[in-house]
């Protein structure tokens, strides 16, 4: 059976997923090697059980991310923090020094021409956490891939090792932020 691979997108810009797509023709090779069982680029219904490897992009920024992080951990054998937002909080955490109400107020009240109000207390609205935090502060993480975003070569190197059942030992050239 092919390894069951998932990718998840929490509080981030999707740049890490775009870099994953920058694998380009290597995606065709990957299609033969894995089952993509959950991903924002695929039609999937819920995070499945028995995921072998999951790449998690983004910081944990709201209550839904936090709840989801625990489901990811419960259902996955190997969890990878995928990119700088998951690893450090990065740009998503730039609001951390500010009060969440001030941040929301600027966007939805001060910059609104009409009906200024903060979206909240509605079932479709995910409440922000006071701070956006890295994934490993919420769940155990098995490996980290740095970069904003990690390059496609870096992702290929890590994924290739993961698919051989190894913890990726990234050479120093890949250990950079930004």
């Amino acid at each position: 059976m092919k390894p069951r691979v998932a990718t998840v997108w929490l509080g981030g810009c999707s740049g890490c997923h775009m870099s994953f797509l920058d694998l380009d023709e290597r995606l065709i090779e990957l299609a033969d090697k894995i089952d993509l069982v959950y991903s924002p680029i695929a039609d999937v219904k819920e995070f499945p059980r028995d995921v072998d490897v999951v790449l998690v992009e983004g910081a944990v920024a709201n209550v839904e991310h936090e709840e989801f992080a625990h489901i990811i951990r419960r259902n996955s054998h190997f969890v990878v923090s995928f990119g700088d937002c998951a690893v450090t909080g990065n740009v998503t955490a730039m609001r951390n020094g500010l009060d969440t109400d001030d941040v929301l107020n600027r966007a939805y009240v001060e910059l609104a021409d009409l009906t200024p109000r903060i979206p909240r207390d509605y079932p479709t609205i995910a409440e922000l956490l006071k701070q956006a935090r890295p994934l490993h502060e919420f769940i155990r993480v098995d490996a980290f891939i740095h970069g904003c975003p990690p390059t496609a070569d870096q992702i290929w190197s890590a994924v290739s090792e993961l698919l051989q059942g190894k913890t990726p030992a990234l050479s120093h050239v890949f250990l950079r932020y930004g």
Partner: protein, 476 residues
């Protein structure tokens, strides 16, 4: 009559993607439907206190799909703050990277994300309805799409040293000059890219026939269309001024300087979505609904100044006839492919222009204004960055009007139309879910600019009555 609410949300609603709710009355007749976005990061506040020079690097992190559009728009706001006219070489290089951004983003939308619906079918196995399923079904088609996106990304990397989040454009110009070896490398790709663009358009014409019974329901209504147009009326992507056209094809406002956009466009807020609701001020909220992006741009321009794309534009316009603009949101897909072809033709022309090899690439100046507005056409529509700085160039206030947000009212209208067309009381089928989802997908919403739902939204629909009893539960 008691009413009930149907919530269509990602099964992974804990992940926080977009959601759709549909309200039906006691007879099962749809009363309303809404498209909700539930993610927020707060760039407009936390950028305060940063240097204007950093804004390109920071705001490109708004979105990994269209970072270069944010970079260019940020640099243009910086140009205004420096009060400089940038060198011609820099302007043409910025044009080149803007088109590369269109190319890679539009290729992603059509090949990687939407074509699984078209090639595998709306009713095909959801587990395989993705890029990997497409590879299994038609490897050659998938590979062509992958390589077209790759070409756009290669141009960005050749110019800016990285594919995603390049810091290459700055206030006053660009950081690095171009050279003839790089030009020749990129020119070699043109024949393949053009062939793929034409092949995609032929595929779209078949799709048009294949789905002719479905298409009339995909957000088919009149609205305003807004975008940048060149001074001679040509399709524009980097500069130009704003044009507003109504659904009958009348130009109701034209040659609006982008620095005046606030006089014409406002934003409303609703408590049920993190995505704001821009509207055209002269007509007010709701009536001032407008659409931006490929459909708007191809509708509002007088012509396209590249021959192959112009020929396709004329065919496209014939869909609607003389008296109308193309009002059906399904044709966003079609317009996007015309823009891919345009981008390839225009990239070739720019690469063959000797001006891009110049070494005068950056106008240097200090802070000369404390306020600046930048605008350009991002893949999904007109993007505005507005900055207020102090004399040292430290940001005092930031206002970002994102392309996808400007389609918010129209996306809600589309969801409502699809729900009314396909919903039959409390019965919710997989086919209905997929069609409502596909309605949103026409707009190619770049929700990472506000949230982060690309690809297919996994869905979970529950119909409950007013006592919260479950009437129907469908997942896929």
């Amino acid at each position: 009559m008691p009413t009930s609410t149907i919530t269509i949300s990602p099964v992974t609603r804990i992940e926080g993607h977009a959601k759709i709710t549909i309200q039906v009355d006691g007879k099962g007749v749809v009363q309303d439907a809404r498209f909700h976005v539930n993610e927020f990061r707060g760039f407009e506040k936390f950028c305060e206190g940063r240097l204007m020079w950093e804004m390109g690097g920071i705001t490109s992190r708004i979105c990994g799909i269209c970072p270069t559009s944010h970079l260019i728009t940020s640099a243009k706001a910086g140009d205004a703050i420096l009060s400089v006219a940038i060198p011609e070489t820099a302007q043409k290089l910025r044009r080149l990277i803007t088109l590369a951004q269109w190319l890679q983003s539009h290729a992603l939308s059509f090949f990687h994300l939407s074509s699984p619906d078209f090639i595998l079918g709306f009713d095909s196995d959801p587990a395989k309805r993705n890029i990997f399923g497409l590879i299994a079904q038609d490897k050659e088609f998938a590979k062509r799409g992958i390589r077209l996106r790759k070409y756009g990304q290669e141009i960005i990397e050749v110019l800016g040293t990285r594919k995603i989040h390049t810091p290459w454009a700055v206030a006053g110009g660009v950081r690095e000059p171009f050279d003839s070896a790089k030009r020749d490398y990129l020119l070699n790709w043109i024949p393949e890219a053009r062939e793929t663009a034409l092949m995609a358009l032929e595929t779209m014409k078949k799709i048009h026939v294949k789905f002719q019974h479905d298409i009339p329901n995909y957000g088919n209504f009149r609205s305003l269309f807004v975008g940048l147009v060149a001074d001679d009326g040509a399709l524009e992507y980097y500069d130009g001024r704003l044009r507003v056209m109504d659904g009958a094809g009348n130009i109701i406002a034209d040659k609006i300087d982008t620095a005046q956009y606030h006089e014409y466009f406002g934003e409303a807020t609703e408590d049920w979505s993190y995505l704001k609701f821009p509207y055209y001020k002269p007509l007010g909220y709701q009536k001032g609904m407008y659409r931006v992006g490929p459909l708007a741009r191809v509708n509002i321009c007088d012509y396209i100044d590249t021959p192959l794309a112009e020929a396709e534009r004329k065919l496209f316009k014939a869909i609607a006839g003389e008296a109308e603009t193309v009002n059906n949101s399904f044709y966003y897909h079609y317009a996007r492919l015309i823009e891919i072809l345009f981008s390839v033709e225009k990239i070739e022309a720019l690469l063959n222009d000797p001006v891009i090899l110049g070494h005068n690439i950056r106008a240097k100046a200090m802070i000369n204004q404390t306020h600046g507005i930048g605008a350009s056409e991002a893949p999904r529509g007109t993007l505005f960055h507005e900055y207020w700085v102090n004399d040292d160039g430290l940001l005092q206030k930031v206002d970002l009007v994102i392309a996808t947000a400007q389609n918010n009212l129209a996306m809600n209208r589309t969801v409502r139309q699809l729900a009314m067309q396909y919903m039959d009381g409390a019965k919710v089928t997989e086919g209905i879910l997929n069609r409502i989802e596909a309605g949103i997908r026409c707009f190619d919403p770049c929700l990472s600019c506000s949230t982060h739902a690309i690809g297919k939204m996994p869905m979970h629909v529950q119909v409950v009555d007013e006592e919260h009893r479950l009437l129907c539960d469908v997942r896929r």
